[in-house]
Symmetry: C2
Subunit: 218 residues, 2 copies
């Protein structure tokens, strides 16, 4: 049976709405009482897997799910072996370098060499500072990266920014944007080539139905 990996968190509601528009209803995942991580849609056409955003590409890479929806940020950080199909036009955010507003730096280039940068996205941060040829020490954190500069542990952070509220509340300002991120449709490459479970049809339908969302957002 066709299996779709869905990300817990910020992208879940829009992902479920998009799949509903092509006839795959996984809205049971949104029921507050739901504890199941694996459900079938009512038409028995497909099953959904509810997993952490970072785990979506893992299930797709191993072919346990043929389709997945995940943020571009996760794909940039993990570089999984999956086929990227469509920009789904929701979940807009950006990966940014930020510093305390009272710091003297106004661009990432001005940061002092060998300074410390806290991030949950260590590969993205490393790639960015390599590209601008600035040696920095990346401090890997799992949450609340904004505490890095607040406690004095790091001069800067690299983190996802959506509304900018968290930065503002913590007295941080954005210096540079590494890239913009939105939700992406990904597929298992071999399943796509073999057109397993009529995959091409589903990819086309989902991509087509996401265009109004993408247009509305742009």
């Amino acid at each position: 049976m066709l299996t779709v990996a869905l990300p817990k968190g910020a992208l879940l509601k829009d992902s479920i709405r998009l799949l509903q528009s092509v006839g795959l209803d996984f809205s049971a995942f949104l029921d507050s009482g739901n504890r199941q991580l694996q459900i079938q849609d009512p038409t028995q056409t497909a099953q959904g897997l509810l997993v952490r955003a970072q785990d979506v590409p893992v299930y797709v890479e191993y072919g346990q799910a043929q389709l997945g929806i995940v943020g571009f940020d996760v794909l940039q950080e993990k570089k999984p072996q999956v086929a990227q199909f469509a920009d789904l036009g929701f979940g807009h955010c950006r990966m940014s370098v930020a510093v305390p507003s009272q710091s003297p730096y106004r661009s990432a280039m001005e940061l002092p060499p060998n300074c410390r940068v806290a991030s949950k996205f260590v590969h993205c941060a490393h790639d960015f500072f390599s590209k601008i040829d600035l040696p920095v020490e990346i401090i890997p954190l799992y949450g609340s990266v904004e505490l890095g500069p607040i406690t004095g542990m790091s001069e800067a952070i690299v983190d996802l920014v959506s509304t900018g509220r968290t930065l503002k509340e913590n007295g941080l300002i954005e210096l540079d944007c590494l890239y913009d991120s939105t939700a992406r449709l990904i597929a298992h490459p071999l399943s796509y080539r073999l057109n397993q479970y009529n995959l091409e049809h589903w990819l086309n339908e989902i991509s087509k139905n996401s265009q109004p969302l993408a247009a509305k957002a742009s």
Copy 2:
């Protein structure tokens, strides 16, 4: 000022209770309305940092916190450069290898060579299977590791087991225990050597007050 890094999640309540018993009150972190990640105790003796469990050793390693409370599992996985002081006697759980109950394996040694093992604790899993000389492919996941065997992505998992309820609900059984875990008191090595902020006193007090907890649990 003395800074103590406290772990969000399962260990937080007992950690705060233990620190209260030595006169450091960070119970404001337990207020449902609290959004602050950094607070001072009412006597202005110390400040508390509320961070992800995996980040506690990072703050202590960099000396941003002189003390921290964290699970032994995190120390085993991350191998941070921190001084380990006391077993605090709460937060009992164990790191275990588990498989679907209908699988033919009854010990980790019986798992087929090159099988797949899903885990959030990739280093612990790798160390364990190296030690028993069984080559396996570790699949790194961030959450809901029990989905690995359920979806057929992995033969086994390595994960923390507390009550065993999650395993049971997902039809999994434990094969072997890698180690038992409890909350540990850690310190920044240089701060300890220099006895910054009277660190020795606090380490002794906290260790002493944790003994009834440890005794009760054993």
